[in-house]
């Protein structure tokens, strides 16, 4: 579903590359964590997959297409096959929950009857039935991220990219969001999730790609957050906190990486099996 071959990305000529000779392959239906310290190239990698940026050298393939060779006017079609979720949700504050989700269909020209049929289905999937008419500022962080996931998923993309989707959420809510992403993955969508949330990665025991200074330093099936074979790419005092990137709101949630809340049933369980193969 995603293939990178010797991908290097330099933002300015002569500068240190944001990504350096990265090669990997992610199969259809896989759930892969992308870890590494800030500035290690995680976001750059996601941007390459969306054709927000082009690789300086190397091949980037998404859903069988060489992303660099897609003509500009066809880039929107690529982006319809790749959904996106972010740490800061990126909802439209003047639209309701349903409006935010419908927006993604409206702007790609889907007919109204499709929008009317699909939006409630997706809101039910993400557990927001009954809150369709709320505005984002009336929702909790977790609920807002659910709306963002619904918006990313409503067009049924083949791939879902999540850039630190739990970065602004407390551990319990993070676990719920993880459950939701897991459900979406179970339904067949390939998920690549960049995260600093060690607790989630360690609990899920799925495939882990680790970037350090732009290089792919680890590709481990059923991996944990920290690199077992060498010095961790990140210092534990920063990176083992599940909420290391968040602001003052997180003070209450500043617990250890394995302090997994009790209600996180699925995520807490040992790694689900049968999904290693791509």
């Amino acid at each position: 579903m995603i293939r990178l071959a010797s991908v290097t990305k330099r933002y300015a000529a002569g500068s240190r590359p944001a990504l350096c000779d990265v090669s990997t392959e992610i199969g259809a239906g896989e759930f892969v964590f992308l870890v590494g310290p800030s500035g290690s190239g995680k976001s750059t990698l996601l941007r390459l997959l969306l054709r927000e940026e082009r690789a300086t050298t190397g091949l980037v393939e998404v859903a069988g297409r060489d992303v660099a060779r897609i003509p500009d006017r066809k880039v929107p079609l690529l982006r319809r096959t790749v959904g996106c979720v972010f740490q800061d949700f990126r909802l439209l504050p003047d639209r309701t929950v349903a409006g935010n989700v419908a927006f993604a269909l409206d702007v790609v020209g889907r007919p109204r009857h499709v929008v009317r049929a699909v939006v409630p289905e997706v809101l039910e999937l993400v557990g927001l039935t009954g809150k369709e008419k709320r505005f984002p500022d009336e929702l909790s962080g977790g609920e807002q991220q659910r709306v963002a996931i619904a918006r990313a998923f409503v067009g049924r993309p083949q791939v879902l990219l999540a850039d630190e989707p739990t970065g602004n959420l407390d551990p319990a809510t993070s676990a719920e969001i993880m459950d939701l992403l897991d459900d979406i993955n179970q339904a067949g969508t390939t998920i690549l999730m960049a995260t600093h949330n060690a607790g989630l990665v360690d609990a899920m025991r799925l495939r882990v790609l680790e970037l350090d200074a732009g290089r792919l330093v680890r590709d481990e099936r059923r991996g944990g957050y920290d690199n077992p074979d060498g010095p961790s790419a990140t210092s534990p005092d920063i990176d083992t906190s599940p909420l290391d990137d968040t602001g003052p709101l997180d003070v209450s949630a500043g617990t250890g990486p394995l302090d997994v809340p009790a209600q996180r049933s699925r995520v807490q369980a040992p790694a689900p099996t049968g999904r290693e193969a791509g």
Binding site: L50, D72, R73, P76, L77, L78, R79, R80, G83, C84, R90, L92, D94, F103, A104, D106, V107, V108, G109, P111, R112, R151, A152, G155
Partner: protein, 290 residues
Amino acid sequence: MRPGPLLAALVTTLRRNVAMTCAVVVTVTICLAMLGAGLLLRAQAHTVDSFLLDQIEIVVDLQDGLDDADRQALRDELAADPLVGGVTYESKQDVYERFRRDFRTSPDVVAGVGPDDLPASFRLALIDPRDAVVIVETYTGRDGVEAVRDQRALLGPLYRFLDAFTLGAFVLAAVQAVASFVLIYTMIRISAHARRRETAIMRLVGATNAAIRAPFMLESALAGLLGGLLAVGALVLAKIYLVDGRFARQTMFPLFGWDAVWVAAATVLAVGVTAAAGMASVALRRHLRA
């Protein structure tokens, strides 16, 4: 995008940007009113032209007492001239009738003149009006010919007046067009900034460039349309109160009719909408990431 969501996006854009949109509308109105005025002045020049081309351009005044045979000989010669398309004879009485008609608004002038005071004449239609000078030179001073007059030449000042005002109107329209572009450019920049969240999400979920740009183009086109409608209103008022209400009583030339006004109106609207949308498109290239 479907019309519903597109309209919603347009309304959002307009609501957030009312003052700027108004400024654009005002500037576009002045620009298009000037353009329309220029077009009407040109229409007026054409109206005078066609009036004169309908009339006979060259008048050969005959000396009094020219006998019928000589007059016929002159007529034959004129008719045989390859530059001349047609010859009409007007007797003194005909000329007097025409004189009375042309000066119907100035009874004082007509009162002192009788049919005998005016010369009988041939009126010549030229195949190419630009040959008038040659005809005047050829026939001036011939036996029986009193004078050869090129009526168009008498109208030089009128044409210069019309040309100058037409040019002035178009220059003003051009200056206003530059001002409009600057304002539309700014309007788009503000709109794009105000809607940057939406456009970022649109790009992410795979909206086409056309869909992302459509609300901005529509906003600008709508400002162009409003400006165009106001300009058309100004032209119509000018036709009713200025042209028909005032000038018509002061000139013996025919003035442009409503057909010219409607042509100018359609042009002004079409130019307003397409130019505004086009200017927005240029501005969007700068202010909206593809």
